[in-house]
Amino acid sequence: MTPRAAAGVDVGGTFTDLVAVRDDGSVAARKVSSTPDDQSRGVENALAALGAEPASIDRLVHGTTIVTNALLERRGARVVLCATDGFTDLLELRRQERASLYDLAAHHPAPLVQRRDTVPVAERMTHHGVLRPLDAEGIAAAVDAVRASGASSVAVSLLHSYAHPQHEQALAAAMRAALPDAEIVASHDVLPEIREYERTSTTVAEAYVRPLVARYLGRLGSALTAAGYPAPGVVTSGGGVLPAAAAARHGAALALSGPAGGVTGAALAARAAGFDRALTIDIGGTSADCGLVLDGEPLVETGGSVAGVPIALPRVLVETVSAGGGSIAWVDDGAALRVGPRSGGARPGPVAFGRGGTQPTVTDAHLTLGTIHAARFDAGVSLDIAAARAAVTALAARLDATPERTAEAIIATADAEMARALRRVSVERGIDPRHCVLVAFGGGGPLHACSLAGRLGMSRVLVPPFAGVLSALGLAVAAERHEALASVMQRTDALDAAALGARLRDLAGRVAEPEPGCRRQFWARTRYVGQGHELEVPLADGDDGHSLAGRFAGMHRARTGFTLDTGVEVVSLRHAATGRPRAAALGRRGPGTWDAARCHDDGSAFEAAVAGPASIALPDATLFVAPGWTARALATGGWLVEHDA
């Protein structure tokens, strides 16, 4: 009988990756071309390439860029925004900072709602409750205006609804009754948290992408189930999995579905190797994604924006920089060597790909130095090393340097930019990179790992198995997770254990259990009174305001180096119910498996240590072991590279 398997499918710009983790621990990976016009075909193609009996797949998790792309390309639904009278311009006003400090002509990306598609609602709440009641006439006027607009997607976002949602509820109910075919999204449902701009923007994003996400997931779900596969789950920006039906109603929460899978996979690899604190970097052709793993879990934060649209929902921390294998090296008008942000991407790509690229890239620099194992590069690409070298040599002539020195400098410049992002990710959260392992993956991660670690004073690098398809592996094992948020806006000294407990129970009651015995976690988003930014403090059973304030102070000290003798307030509570992650035993299985190239037929090289400088060919990447570093194959798969003390 075929072992049952969980499959993760990660859709990227160029490739759709699939990883299947079977119950016997074995893992299969496939890479097919993405189908940008309809991502679901790429998903089906990847499954076809796997060739497994559909019934043997008992779990299918999808990481999708459909929401990211819809936001980037502004391809969502036409949305009408109903806002408190006098405040319909919130999306235009943003937070009043300009798009660029020095480029005075730069504009922010346009809001998702056109100014003429805003409807004033005759009502006003304050944080104390009703100031101007919303009467039947006000409701009717708003409904009429929406109907007259002809739009089929409606965002309702009224002032102070995080605390007093009654007007939003009444208006949304009236809209649903009067316009049964329209999608009605209310801000207290999407993000019940103070700060009207971010709440409104998130709500509008939901109304904007929901119809498209629902259509896409509906189509994908029926195609898969018709073929005998299970209904898919979708990974959210926060790294948890939602069943497709629920995901279709949380479109804005999928905005960073793609990168979340990578950090989830990196966290799995780190745990398997015995590390619970890691910096992660996924280096691709055009960009590098940096993340952070604490206590074995990807760090989840709230806020940020996607394609210029603030979406204040939980998301796995990922900071992206424009540096990758395809980043182009050039000389600027100050005679300095520069790398990126322009990139050859997948096409034309590096000069060595022979697809028309003429400017040297980071990959060409590696080929010039011989750090990449040319023979084992991407399947289907034959490398023209002479052309790569010629391009680097031409650049070197302009810099009056040797080709080798120029190639080294190209790599060092890209490394410096990536190291800066890694440091930002860690230090901004009070984490010292020296206490972390660096998990390096993606096509370019293992090549740059030693240099990045050296720049950050880190002494250990983990190159996970399946470094080229780690995101898909992360998806295959990611746990189902349901979340909810509730506004509080109270000082901790007003919160006794009973009051806090009642709020947590209420919150828990709103969240479906993914499975019996799931893990329930609570956080209080907390700050000193007067601060504008919260820390997420984990809550334990029996907590009261006093114990919460104490834990907050400890976290504040760890992050900022000091505490204050001022009141502490809870802005909101967050809850997540998480199922069990899929078990995956990432062991080495000898010849014929992913790391076969690294061992003799009898498997005897598994314990071998490789001292730098050395290049180790992995199935879909090259691991460069720098001088002064030693790589050891791990029993759990992958390599641990350590700085020689």
Binding site: Q96, A105, A336, H533, F562
Partner: protein, 511 residues
């Protein structure tokens, strides 16, 4: 011939490394500070200096701090700094800008010796003086504007001098918040020191020093490369503030801009002498405006360090409002004169044939409301000027500011104020081939008695268009519908409504 100590191929690497340190200081500050003014509005900057006091990197969130902190470090270096010292200052005539900008300078110590400086400037919500928020209208002496802090040692031997700290805190209206913000500023300086030390250890002292030379030279090269095609351009700009807060007499600013030997020469001869009110500014603020104006011509990736200032030559007449000396009052100079200087430089550049944007709103619309036990300060965005590249953005801070707004909900929870309306000010941008950006309308209802202080500009002199574009619509301040002066202090009763309409930006191109 010996090998060069610094390989120019490593410029990009070193540039990232020093910027990273300045950036880290900024993040520690913003993360740790208590006041919305620093934390939400980011009215703060951090910078890193080498042993010679040269600024090698700055993380500026707002342009008025651009290139203005070298003066702070120079003022500290003149006071015989010793290892373990930490300096605090705000005196505009000894390294400061205006009094709310408390600036901390930490001499960085490595192996017992000073090896550089970390500096952090932050706009504090109150530093005492005649009105809450320390942005008074009508002040004529520096002492009315708040506590004056010359460069003093806030710490010796690494220990905070609690007596100096208590003296500072005893002179401000919100000591707890100030204490918190100062703690964050110190933590940010320490982060900068740590980063600079690590860089020295990794790069080696000689190589790092040579690298900093190369980095400053590189920035200067890039700035001057931009000026080469403009060689010989010359033009004059003249504009004025609408009064100094004491009288309504215009305060003229005049500048001749010339590009000569690929440097930008700005001669302010003919600008107003020091005025009685507080729209004067020290030379550091004028220099910041000049650096900003040049910066807008450069691409975003030019590193921010002392190299930019090297491409600028200034002539600042002694005793003028743009090069004030003690004890002239300066609170509004930092926020409003700085804007007018920028506007005037742009006019001069335009008349020299340099393609620049039309004038933006040209004011920060400083609004302070204060009552028993509370002070609220904010500034409002408006229209940006249009340019040959397109229309002007709406509802943004222009010129020397870039602070964020205060969320309506947060504001209402924290203060006895209700916002009645917050909207775009339609059709306020000047017409043209490309229209100027729109201003905003914001109405505040006082829910308790309080005092409102307004320091605003462009209420009568509209932002001008460029290349034949129309002017933006001037701003309006009103109390219960009755128009108020541009700079005014009024008592508000509960129920009163203050409405601010900010100016639109100038248009570009004749239609």
């Amino acid at each position: 011939m010996s090998a060069p100590v610094f390989d120019p191929l490593e410029l990009g690497v070193l540039g990232h490394a020093v910027s990273m340190v300045a950036e880290e200081m900024g993040s520690v500050l913003v993360r740790g500070s208590l006041s919305p003014n620093i934390r939400e509005r980011r009215d703060a900057s951090s910078a890193l200096f080498d042993l010679r006091g040269r600024m090698v990197a700055q993380a500026a969130h707002i342009p008025v701090h651009l290139g203005a902190m070298p003066e702070s470090v120079r003022a500290v270096m003149a006071r015989d700094p010793r290892p373990g010292d930490l300096f605090l200052l705000n005196d505009p005539y000894h390294g400061g800008s205006h009094l709310p900008d408390l600036t901390m300078v930490l001499p960085i110590v490595d192996e017992g010796a000073i090896v550089g400086y970390a500096a952090v400037r932050a706009h504090h919500a109150d530093v005492g003086g005649m009105s809450p928020g320390s942005m008074p209208q009508g002040a004529t002496e520096l002492w009315q504007e708040g506590l004056v802090v010359p460069p003093v040692r806030l710490a010796r031997n690494g220990e905070i001098d609690t007596e100096v700290m208590s003296l500072v805190l005893a002179n401000v209206r919100t000591p707890v918040e100030r204490h918190g913000d100062l703690a964050a500023q110190r933590a940010a300086c320490e982060a900068g020191a740590e980063g600079w030390r690590a860089l020295r250890h990794r790069e080696g002292v000689v190589r790092l020093d040579a690298g900093c030379d190369a980095l400053l030279d590189y920035t200067e090269r890039r700035a001057r490369a931009r000026l080469v095609p403009l060689e010989g351009a010359t033009g004059v700009g003249e504009d004025a503030l609408e009064g100094d807060g004491v009288s309504d007499r215009p305060v003229p600013v005049r500048v001749r801009a010339t590009v000569r030997y690929s440097k930008l020469h700005l001669d302010f001869t003919g600008s107003s002498p020091v005025v009685a009110g507080n729209v004067n500014c020290p030379a550091a603020v004028t220099r910041a405006a000049a650096v900003f104006a040049l910066r807008t011509l450069l691409s975003d990736d030019v590193p921010t360090n002392d190299g930019i200032a090297r491409a600028i030559e200034l002539v600042l007449p002694e005793g003028s409002a743009i090069n004030a000396s003690a004890p002239a009052a300066v609170a509004a100079g930092n926020v409003e004169m700085s804007q007018r200087i920028t506007d005037t430089i742009f006019l001069a550049m335009a008349s020299a044939g340099i393609p620049v944007a039309a004038q933006g709103q040209g004011t920060m619309n400083n609004i302070t409301l204060g009552g028993a036990g509370w002070t609220f300060y904010e500034t409002l965005g408006g229209g940006q000027g249009a340019s040959g590249r397109g229309p002007g953005p709406s509802a943004v801070h222009v010129g020397m500011s870039n602070t964020r707004n205060t969320p309506v909900e947060t504001l209402e929870v924290a203060y006895p104020i209700r916002i009645e309306r917050y909207a775009l000010r339609a059709d306020s941008g000047g017409g043209g081939v490309h229209a100027g950006g729109a201003g905003v309308i914001r109405s505040y209802r006082a829910l308790a008695p309080c005092v409102a202080t307004l320091l605003t500009e462009r209420r009568s002199r509209s932002p001008q268009g460029a290349s034949g574009g129309g002017a933006g619509v001037a701003g309006v301040n009103a109390l219960n519908g009755a128009v108020l002066p541009a700079k005014v202090r009024r008592s508000l009763a509960a129920g009163d409504v203050l409405t601010i309409e900010t100016p639109g930006g100038g248009g570009w191109g004749r239609r």
